[in-house]
Amino acid sequence: MAAGFKIAEPLEYHRSFLKENCRPDGRELSEFRTTTLNIGSISTADGSALVKVGNTTVMCGIKVELTNPLVEAPGKGFIVPNVDLPPLCSSRFRPGPPGEQAQAASQFIADVIESSEVIQTEDLCIERGKLCWVLYCDMMCVDYDGNVLDACIIALLAALKNTKLPEVTINKDTGSTRTSFCVFDDSILIVDPTAEEEGLSTSHLTVVTDEKERLCVVHKPGGTPLSAEKLQECIGRATARQREIQKLVDKVVHSVKTAQ
């Protein structure tokens, strides 16, 4: 009966849960799914990480290469992020060139790297005007169950921590984490939405904060308007989440180091 109701009236089905302040998968409105992290999973890449947020799985591999810096910016290296949403991860993606969502996600990650100054591109320069590093950060979604941008950032951050450049080592991370929210029926706010919840919600909001609790990105691509109080609530939740993730990444990095 419940299964039939879910398929026929998905919005009503979700509303009946939200009325009771819980969600179909048993979570509270502001509860995240379990996040698991594994770093150094790809031995052939220079740095890698695998992140699972509930069912959503994102793999990040970092390839390091040498290149010539641009004439306009002789003292800077490059970070090239790329998000891949292959048909494997969900039926909503088709084979062929990357769709709008994948391109928007890549641009978003690039903005986050630039705004949060996770890595100073100046540090990637080896010989001014002659030689610098380029980091190709490829994030591949293996299983799409909503909130893919959160998973991408965590994977990227963990993979960067895992990356070691020969001779020069980078470790100027400021570490940033993002939190995604969904607005349901214009008023109810939920965090860490699943794919189903994303599809039914009226608006999305993404907040990225760094270690010093400064905001790096407040990204809300349209949708229903949001009041100042709700925004404040989101920022508060995002900073709390930032600390959780920081702890998780540190713990995994530490455990890998001790295992070596």
Binding site: Q103, S115, L215, P221, G222, G223, Q232, I235
Partner: protein, 220 residues
């Protein structure tokens, strides 16, 4: 017909707008903010490709064309922002299984281009006579090295800024529909920028009103 909006307390550059300047689209508008200039054209409601058909509402497609070259990843992400803002204000359920296309051509970029895209889009949608639940406008704020907030910055001011934020504000309750930020800033600065943008939006909506009123008073 061109109008100019004099700025009062929040400093915005000179605005200009012309509607129905193209003959082929169902609605068109050019929007000028200082030296930044955009032309918007709306086609629809028209027939939709089967693969893009949505059974209970219209499919909105936004295309952003840069001044030179092909649209890149940056344009894609701005397209997404403009599209989702328009989707929230348009009453798309009134035209199920049909397509709306909004084309935004950048003529000249001198800062605040996303805000200018949004303003041009809103004027073009209005010109096309599409039913909307509210109007929206775009405001860009830059925070410079001295922590001063500059509204509607030029390209040079954008380059010098520490943080850059663009908001879409709705006309009904002046709440934030869209936000796109660059650079790092504190929570307090974000709230200040939102407050400034809401104030600036009053001027922009007044400009919308004046420019539409002037247009129709000439036609009658």
């Amino acid at each position: 017909m061109m109008e100019v909006c004099g700025s009062t307390n929040v400093s915005l550059r000179e605005f200009g707008c012309e509607q129905t300047l193209l003959s082929r689209p169902d609605g068109s508008a050019s929007f000028v903010q200082g030296d930044t200039s955009v032309i918007a054209a709306v086609y629809g409601p028209a027939e939709v490709k089967v693969s893009k058909e949505i059974y209970d509402r219209a499919t909105l497609e936004v295309l952003i064309q840069p001044k030179v070259g092909l649209p890149s990843v940056r344009e894609r992400s701005q397209e997404q922002c403009v599209r989702e803002t328009c989707e929230a204000s348009l009453l798309l359920t009134l035209h199920p299984r049909s397509s709306l296309t909004l084309v935004l051509q950048l003529i000249h970029d001198d800062g605040s281009r996303l805000a200018c895209f949004l303003n041009a889009a809103c004027m073009a949608l209005m010109d096309a006579g599409l039913p909307m639940s509210c109007l929206f406008c775009g405001v860009t704020c830059a925070i410079n090295a001295d922590s001063e907030i500059i509204t509607d910055p030029t390209a040079a001011q954008e380059k010098e800024s520490r943080a850059l934020m663009t908001f879409a504000i709705d006309s009904k309750e002046q709440r934030v529909m869209m936000s796109y930020t660059k650079g790092s800033f504190s929570v307090h600065e974000l709230q200040q920028c939102i407050a400034v943008s809401q104030k600036a939006s009053e001027n922009i909506f007044q400009f919308y009103r004046d420019s539409v009123r002037r247009r129709y008073s000439k036609n009658l």
